[in-house]
Each structure stands twice: as C-alpha cells, then as structure tokens.
Symmetry: C3
Subunit: 130 residues, 3 copies
C-alpha cells in the first residue's frame, strides 16, 4: 500500500482490513509523516501523547487483528527529525506529510483476536494454540 500527503495511516490500514476481511496480518512501513506517539500510564490507564511533525518514519511495525467485531491495529514506530535524532514508541496516529509512505502488509490465514487482560490492563493478542 502506498499512501500520499494528507492520508491518515492507521485509518487507511483499518479500512483495507475491513474491506478485504484480512484475518490477521503484520505490517511494516516507512515514509515521511506527522506522528503522534503515546506512552501508556498504567495508573491512569491512558496514553500520554506527544506529536512529532515533518519527520522520517524510519521504521514502523504493526499487527492487524480483531476485537469484538472491529479491526484492531497495534503499531510501533521510530521517527527521525532533521538532526537525525530518533524518537518513537506506540503509534497513536500518523498522517503522511510531503512525500509518501510505503507499507508492506503480510497477511496470515488465521483470524486473530485481541482481548482485554487485566492485569496488566492491556489488550493482548490471542493466538489460541500458541
């Protein structure tokens, strides 16, 4: 999948997964983006966010699964700015900036679900017979 300026990254992956009924998948990506990362606070159970604008997406790794009938995407990424310093973590959202974003999606046959496990209070990918 190749996205262009202004495209929302996670929404586009989500829509493709819905449309193509992707059972589960892994994906990688790289491009030029505005990205919002979140660091999970296990006390408040919320992500503390920070935005990075006009940065290279040096790496992105994610998984596509399902939760209660809806597509559930989990993605981590690393971005780098014009000083080449690197930042990253859990990707909350991203849009493509000037340039493009190349995404490789590796689709698996088996449908995977996430369910909330508490502890640790996080949605965890379930593999069935692991």
């Amino acid at each position: 999948m190749v996205l262009r300026q202004g495209d929302d990254v996670l929404s586009n992956i989500e829509e493709l997964a819905e449309k193509e009924k992707i059972p589960s998948a892994n994906f990688t990506g790289m491009g030029f983006v505005n990205a919002k990362f979140g660091f999970f606070n296990f006390e408040t159970k919320e992500y503390e966010p920070k935005e990075f604008s006009k940065v290279e997406l040096a790496s992105m790794n994610g998984t596509i699964a399902w939760q209660k009938g809806k597509v559930s995407i989990h993605a981590h990424g690393v971005v780098t700015d014009k000083t080449f310093a690197a930042f990253g973590g859990h990707l909350l959202s991203a849009t493509v900036d000037t340039g493009s974003l190349e995404i490789l999606i590796t689709i698996h046959d088996k449908k995977l679900e996430r369910t909330l496990e508490d502890p640790p209070g996080a949605n965890v990918l379930q593999l069935g017979a692991n």
Copy 2:
C-alpha cells in the same frame, strides 16, 4: 508468538526453535520490555552492556540460525522511554514488563549456521552458495 509479563524474550524464541527444529528464520517484534543492549568492544571481544527498564520495544529484528548444534539467535532492537527518546543496538536479553510482546517469526526451509570468523572476531551467518 505472544509473550506476557515476566517472560524472557530470547529464551522463549530459543526454546521454540529447538522444539520445532526451525532450520532458520527471521523475526520481528514489538511490545513493552526491560531490555539489555551490548555494544561490542573489538579490543576486549566483549559486549559493554546497558539496561533500559519499562520501555516500549519500538522495533526488534532478528535471525535464528545454528552454531555447533545449538540455536544461535542474533537480535537488534530499538526501545523508547516515556520521553519518547530512542535507544538500542545489539540485544543481549529482554523480559516482558507490564503488557505483552508480539513476535512474528518467518521460517525458512534452509538450515543456516553461524561460524566464528576472525577477523573480525565475530560469529557470522553462513549462507553456503551466497
């Protein structure tokens, strides 16, 4: 493979490779971990280690091969802390912290071995007819 809090990352991959007799493989992963990285000192031939606690594993890339009858894992990773700053390198060990770790293992048919090459004094993956 999905690991949970307290699991040792490299040991679990190693055990799976032993049990399933994986000839060779590449893997990627992401999750929330405590990680120890090492920077190889070619004078002392030892890794100088540093630990990072309660960090997002923003990316992990590794290979599974064999050396003298034992599973040989080589993994690199990037972790990010709550300021979203990124650190990483050669992964010596990691355990899952609060949350989980999702790992994708891509298995290859061909058995691959590592052997010590000196120079540079490092174990190098051998591909046969390269």
Copy 3:
C-alpha cells in the same frame, strides 16, 4: 544476503536485484556499519547528509523497485552508537564495518516502478491497481 567488512550495502542489493531481475521486494537488515543518512530539503530538493561511523544498524527497512529501466532502492534505517543513542532516517549509503550485515529480502512477483510526482517533488512507488 550476508555482507562483510568493507561491502557497500545499497550497491550489493542493487547488483543482486539487477542480476536476479527481482520484480520488486521488501528488505530488512541489521549489522555493524558506517552509514550516511539524508534529510530531504523540499526547498533545495536535496538531501542534507550526515555520517555515523562504527554504529550498530538497529533496523533497516527498504523496498526494491524500478525507475526508467534501472533498479530503484529506497531504504530507511536506525543506527545506535556506543552510548546506545539512536539516530536515523533516509539511508543514502552504508558500508559494513567490523562484523557483518544480515539482510532478508522478500521478493514479490509483481514488477513495481517509481515515478517522479511533483508535488511533492519526490519519487513515489506506483502500485497500479492500488
């Protein structure tokens, strides 16, 4: 593909793609390198470069496609130094330093081309029926 000290990373991937007539591919890699990254300046249309010597390549993600009959490689990477600090972005060039570089190339059947799109003034991967 396993490269050794002194090998030029992108040239070796390019030569393999030419020789094997790889229609398109994604690749990942990790190793110990000297790397030059560039941050694209959309005003001058040039990459502003910076070199990092004797660093771990913590991650590398790239794509192989074709442009006007020649192999076109696009790669992003993250490197880490002996303090484990991470840097990266768009990879302009890299050579292997002491040690080796392990590269996994996932080849696709479909030939992909890049063409210059302006705006944004960048070469963009074309997927045909996207």
